[in-house]
Symmetry: C2
Subunit: 121 residues, 2 copies
DNA sequence: TATGCAACACACAAAAATGTAAGTAATGGC
DNA sequence: GCCATTACTTACATTTTTGTGTGTTGCATA
C-alpha cells in the first residue's frame, strides 16, 4: 500500500507472474484486506467516503483511503470531488469493474461451499 | 505463511470478513504469491514436488513448500507420499479445486482485458 | 471566538508475507 | 566410505501490508 521497492525480488516476482497470468493479475488487484467489501458496497450505487466507512465495520479512515486510491489507480472505481465544504467525494464502480460482478457471484458460491466443507472436518 | 498471531486486529478482521463474504474467503485462499501458478500447473495432471518447481520459474523450495502446505490445509490439493528413497511426493487438485477452473477462465479473460486497458493510459 | 464536519495526510508501530542460505534423512551407486 | 538425490526444515533478513493516532483544510454554525 505504501510505495513498493521496485528492485526487490518480491516486487519483480509479482510483476512477472501478473504479466504472464491473467488470474494472478486479477487476484493481485482484488486481494487487499477490504477491497472486495468496498467493491460490493458500490455495486449498483454511488457512495461517498463516509458512507462507505459506515457500511464497512472496523475499517479505518486510512485503510479506506489507501484501498480507494489503489482501486482508482487500477481503474476499478471512479472518484468524483464536489467543490463544497465540508468536502464531498463520491465513488462508483467503473464499467470494467462491473464486468466482474458475475464472476464474483460464482466465486461467492464457491467460497461458501468451500467454507462449509472445511468446517465439517 | 508463518504462524499468524491469532489475537491481532489484522487476524480478527481477516476472519470476520472471510466469514461474511464468500468472495473474500475465496480470494483469501487463492492470494499467495505463487498459488495460482501452482494450481494452474496441476490442472489435469499430477505432479511431484520437483516437477512443480521446474515448471515455476524463480520459486524457491521454501515458498513452494509453504504454499503447498496451505493449499493442502485448505483442501485444494492432495498430497501423496510414496515410501521410496529418495522420496516421491505427488500433488493433485481436489474435486473442489477443480470446480474453480471455469471461474479461473473468466478471471483470466478479465485480467487480460484489464491489463490491456491499463496499458493504454 | 470556538467547535464541528468530511476527507483525507503523516509518522510510526506491528504483523504478515516473501526471500536467502544452509542443513537433514535415508538409500543406491561408485 | 563418499556422493548424489528428493522433499523438505530451520533460522534469519527483507519487504509489504495493515493498524493506531494525530494533524490539516476551509467554511458553517453556536
Amino acid at each position: 500500500m505504501a510505495k513498493r521497492k521496485e528492485t526487490s525480488t518480491n516486487h519483480l516476482n509479482r510483476e512477472q507472474i501478473s504479466g504472464v497470468c491473467g488470474v494472478a493479475h486479477a487476484i493481485d488487484i482484488l486481494a487487499g484486506r477490504w477491497k472486495l467489501f468496498i467493491l460490493y458496497k458500490l455495486v449498483n450505487r454511488t457512495l461517498r467516503f463516509r458512507e462507505l466507512k459506515e457500511h464497512i465495520p472496523n475499517i479505518t479512515d486510512r485503510m479506506l483511503t489507501l484501498h480507494l486510491q489503489e482501486l482508482e489507480a487500477d481503474g476499478l472505481v471512479t472518484r468524483t470531488v464536489y467543490a463544497e465544504v465540508p468536502p464531498r467525494v463520491e465513488y462508483r464502480l467503473t464499467e470494467i469493474a462491473a464486468r466482474l460482478i458475475p464472476v464474483w457471484d460464482q466465486l461467492n458460491d464457491w467460497g461458501h461451499q468451500h467454507r462449509d466443507k472445511q468446517l465439517q472436518r
